[in-house]
């Protein structure tokens, strides 16, 4: 199969899945099978692109010209492939998890849920494979729109409120800043194609380029750089599978992915390194890492704590991009993968706890490890990976980012990374401690009965926890692919 067909198929398969899901709305079992089959097909399609990309190729396809000079075009390069592989693989796992969660939690409108989920994944593929900034922007906006019904799934006032913040910040920043930046880029350069080495060098004054960088970085609200981070905690009203795949992986990673992509292919690392304002943005990322961690410690609601942790971790990647070194990009790319596996595990666990015990607040979770040993073990593994402790995959990306900071001579940033690791121990591990070493309720005596979440959910979260360990043992393929972003074979 040629690459261009695989690209188009990767965009269409989830949409065909939507038709199947809606068609099978009266047969829940068949509907879930459709989702699983769709997700698996998507992953196989994306994986089929691995061989040509590893061989140095860039499969591409141009669908149509929307405006003169502005095409709806796709091109697969290593960064996008990493992102697409992670998102499509974790979609399979999340689908398995959802079956347990949605039924166990007796959610309504499940067909609508699965259908919009599939649309969101199609949009994610569009973002990952976009061949120019115009195409990326289109799918970026579709991703916002298609996740809105998922965030507001419950239909309550709280969901409406959360949806308002979510939609307002994401659409607001993307229209006011990102679109402006894109149009300015187009007017000054005359193209928006992602090009190795960037397109802006020498095309505009230092002031304009600096301003563009600021507009882009803030315009990609999905990266949740402070002060445009509030949508992420607000999005936690969504059902847990949404928080897990979309708000720990697909949507937020689409944000940081876009920032990496812009850094490498619009500005180019050489130009980026010369931009004065880059320093300020780097410091802002560092501040976001620390402030979000401190806020996370103060949250009692587990999902909210994880959300602030995500904000903090996303800024690692922004920081990696703003270091403007090859190692920073590689580290950032690896962190996309490492954080994805770690954080999705944590969210899966939070959802499993909710389904099995109806508990959402950490303070209520005393002794829960005895009731749900598998879940809480997986939680601990995921937490260690986020912290960056061996033997978990998170170690490698932190290592790379630390090396990158050293390379760039930003010693303070190494301090920030270390401090952040300490803080993340502070907000993640107390949950494990609470679960395993605290007694549940003093008044309840007698033997503990093991009561895990539905088997589908437990299987999914065990798998992603295992993934964290596998990524520690075999980080090489990922490292290799990430390295190809900055040093292409040709």
């Amino acid at each position: 199969m040629t690459g261009s067909i695989a690209i188009i198929a990767a965009l269409l398969v989830p949409l065909i899945g939507v038709l199947g899901i809606v068609g099978a709305r009266h047969k829940p079992n068949l509907r879930e099978v459709v989702t699983l089959v769709t997700a698996t097909c998507l992953f196989i399609l994306v994986a089929s692109l691995l061989t040509p990309v590893l061989a140095g190729g860039r499969p591409s396809v141009s669908v149509m010209e929307i405006l003169p000079g502005l095409e709806l075009a796709f091109e697969v390069e290593p960064l996008g492939l990493v992102f697409a592989l992670i998102a499509s693989f974790l979609w399979i796992v999340t689908s398995v998890y959802s079956i347990g969660y949605m039924r166990g939690h007796h959610e309504k409108n499940q067909t609508r849920f699965y259908a919009w989920f599939a649309v969101a994944l199609a949009a994610t593929m569009g973002v990952a494979f976009a061949g120019n900034m115009f195409t990326l922007f289109i799918f970026y906006e579709i991703l916002t729109l298609s996740t809105y019904p998922l965030v507001t799934h419950a239909g309550t006032d709280k969901a409406k409120q959360g949806g308002r913040t979510y939609f307002g910040i994401l659409i607001g920043t993307s229209i006011a800043f990102q679109l402006l930046a894109i149009i300015i880029t187009y007017v000054t350069v005359g193209t928006l194609d992602f090009t190795q080495g960037g397109i802006l060098a020498g095309k505009a004054s230092d002031f304009v380029i600096g301003m563009l960088l600021v507009l882009y970085v803030f315009g990609v609200g999905k990266a949740a750089l402070m002060p445009f981070h509030r949508w992420l905690p607000a999005a936690m009203v969504a059902p847990t599978p949404v928080s897990a795949l979309l708000h720990a992986v697909a949507v937020v990673k689409a944000g940081v992915f876009t920032i990496l992509k812009i850094s490498v292919y619009i500005f180019g690392l050489d130009l980026l390194a010369d931009i004065g304002v880059r320093d300020a943005l780097m410091w802002l990322a560092a501040a976001t890492i620390l402030i979000a961690s401190v806020i996370a410690i103060r949250q009692d609601n587990l999902k909210r704590r994880l959300a602030y942790s995500t904000i903090s971790q996303l800024s690692y990647i922004v920081l990696g991009a703003m270091l403007a070194t090859e190692a920073g990009i590689v580290g950032g790319t690896m962190h996309i993968a490492m954080h994805a596996f770690g954080k999705i595990t944590l969210f899966f666990c939070a959802g499993a706890i909710l389904v099995a015990t109806h508990k959402t607040e950490i303070s209520q979770m005393g002794g829960i490890g005895r009731i749900m040993p598998i879940t809480m073990t997986a939680y601990t593994i995921g937490a260690l990976s986020i912290i960056g402790a061996p033997p978990m995959g998170g170690l490698w990306s932190k290592w790379m980012l630390g090396m990158a900071a050293l390379d760039a001579g930003e010693f303070v940033m190494i301090g920030v990374l270390m401090l952040s690791s300490l803080l993340s121990i502070g907000y993640l591990l107390p949950v494990s401690y609470q679960a395993f070493f605290n007694t549940p309720d003093r008044h309840v005596t007698g033997k503990t009965v093991i009561k895990e979440a539905p088997a589908f959910s437990v299987a999914a979260l065990s798998l992603t926890a295992l993934g964290c360990i596998v990524l520690f043992l075999f980080p090489d393929p990922l490292y290799h692919l990430a390295g190809m972003i900055v040093t292409p074979l040709d």
Binding site: L67, L145, T152, G155, A159, G172, I175, A176, L180, I183
Partner: protein, 493 residues
């Protein structure tokens, strides 16, 4: 033979059809007749646009009398495109009208209604096609008088005051236009636009010509609802029957904008309009003020039709902003937005018409939970609403993209920022409706409300689909508006 007389047929057919409609008597027949005529006119206007795109502008002498003695129709890409918009909206709205008019207009007035509609259509087409300044005034009055009548047919008693208000303002506007034309005639001795364009430069420093320009522009600005001359519009749109609102919102102000283009660029000429008279800063400031004030007012409306009407005032601001740039790119954006806005706003008003048909009200509070009962209607509303915000893959995005590109080409960075910020205001007012429809529990659950009939849904979805289609396949509107803008600026053929 018929092809040669396209321009005359385009006007003659609806004009003659109007009295025939009156003779047909019963509502059903009158409706069928006006639908047929609308479709015919749509076909003719399509042929004409193709003709101009292929073989360039052409003139048609009415009755074989040579200009400047006879009346001449001048067709170029610009007015062929506007004609197509008007005719297309008419053709889409008419099948919808049957159910809606049955619900909103007393039965014995149906025939009158359809007759008025045909006259209004004739007037709008006539304004657009004619090459004679006085003829513009005549057709303007035909369309205005018939729209006053149509607005007054609204079920709400406030429709009468709204119509009266519009009548007063509209008449002032028309009088100003007439004074302007009179002064021009006095100074040049001709009413033919091409002739006027030739003779005006010789007398352009005289006070009567400047007065003519001022009267004319203010009159047209009233008709096109340029801020702050828009006060008639929100009430007229809010209380008119739904079909009338959808039709007029998508066509009437747009045709007035066309008149402005024609006189500013073709008749008076760019150098007079922008060098002798400082039209550029005036339009720039008024359009930006209009965008912000009207969008802000829209956010606080409780009646969705009024909300959309205020949004129309804001959108006129975008259209006029494009004009104030005085570049091909700016005019392209302006014309493009005329087209895209007609499609989107038409769809939005049709959706509200469907809601009115079922619920009997378009107050936001009465729309609570409506999405459960009318899912298709509200989905169309959301899609068209996204177009208004300017989300990618909708026509609204394309026109916004062009407008901002054009603004940046002139180096007006702050204006570009303002335009983008203003589109965030659209998020607020569109989302207020969406939240009410999707998240609030309905208070009137006992009232039986069902999805609108198919005859309303199909036209609604034709426009909604068009708003998405022309956000993806932009070739037709883009080609037509670029070509039209070039002709207006006098570049190329």
């Amino acid at each position: 033979m018929i092809a040669a007389h396209l321009p005359a047929l385009l006007i003659a057919i609806p004009l003659i059809a109007a009295p025939v409609c009156l003779l047909l008597g019963r509502g059903g027949l009158a409706w069928a007749w006006s639908t047929l005529v609308s479709w015919l006119v749509f076909g003719l206007s399509w042929l004409m646009l193709q003709k101009t795109l292929i073989s360039g502008p052409f003139n048609y002498e009415l009755g074989g009398w040579e200009a400047p003695f006879g009346i001449e129709y001048q067709v170029d890409t610009l007015n062929a495109f506007i004609l197509l918009i008007v005719a297309a909206i008419g053709a889409v709205v008419m099948p919808y009208a049957r159910a809606s008019v049955n619900r909103e207009v007393p039965a014995h007035k149906h025939t009158l209604f359809y007759t008025a509609y045909l006259l209004c259509l004739t007037g709008l087409l006539g304004i657009t096609i004619t090459g004679d300044a006085f003829n513009v005034f005549v057709f303007l009055e035909i369309s205005s008088l018939s729209s006053y009548a149509m607005i007054a047919l609204g079920r709400d008693p406030k429709a009468l005051t709204a119509s009266f208000q519009y009548l007063i303002m509209g008449t002032i506007g028309a009088t100003f236009i007439l004074i302007g034309i009179g002064l021009m005639y006095q100074m040049t001795g001709t009413l033919n636009m091409a002739d006027l364009a030739k003779r005006l430069p010789a007398v352009e420093d005289t006070r009567p010509v400047m007065a003519a320009f001022a009267f004319f522009i203010i009159g047209v600005s009233l008709k096109l609802a340029l801020f702050p001359l828009h006060m008639w519009l929100p009430n007229a749109y809010a209380y008119a029957p739904s079909v009338v609102t959808a039709f007029l919102a998508a066509t009437a102000t747009k045709v007035s904008v066309y008149v402005l283009y024609r006189f500013v660029f073709t008749v008076f000429g760019q150098s007079f309009s922008f060098d002798v008279i400082p039209l550029e800063p005036i339009l720039l400031v008024l359009s930006l003020a209009g965008i912000f004030v009207a969008s802000a007012v829209a956010i606080f409306q409780t009646n969705v039709k009024r909300l959309l009407a205020w949004s129309s005032v804001a959108q006129i601001g975008y259209i006029m902003l494009g004009v104030s740039l005085i570049t091909v790119a700016g005019l392209t954006a302006s014309i493009l937005h005329i087209f895209n806005h007609a499609v989107m706003k038409g769809a939005l008003f049709l959706a509200m018409g469907a809601v009115y048909y079922q619920v009997g009200s378009v107050q936001i509070s009465d729309l609570n939970g409506i999405a459960k009962k009318m899912p298709y209607t509200m989905f169309a509303f959301v899609i068209a609403g996204l177009g208004l915000i300017g989300v990618p893959l909708t026509g609204g995005f394309i026109s916004k993209w062009y407008l901002i590109t054009a603004v940046l080409e002139r180096g007006w960075w702050p204006v570009a920022v303002l335009v983008l910020l203003s589109s965030l205001l659209a998020v607020f007012y569109v989302w207020r409706v969406v939240e009410a429809a999707y998240f609030k529990a309905g208070d009137n659950d006992d009232v039986e409300v069902r999805e609108a009939p198919l005859s309303m849904l199909v036209p609604l979805y034709v426009l909604t689909a068009a708003s998405v289609w022309f956000g993806i396949d932009t070739s037709l509107p883009l080609k037509a508006s670029t070509e039209a803008a070039r002709q207006l600026m006098g570049i190329g053929g």
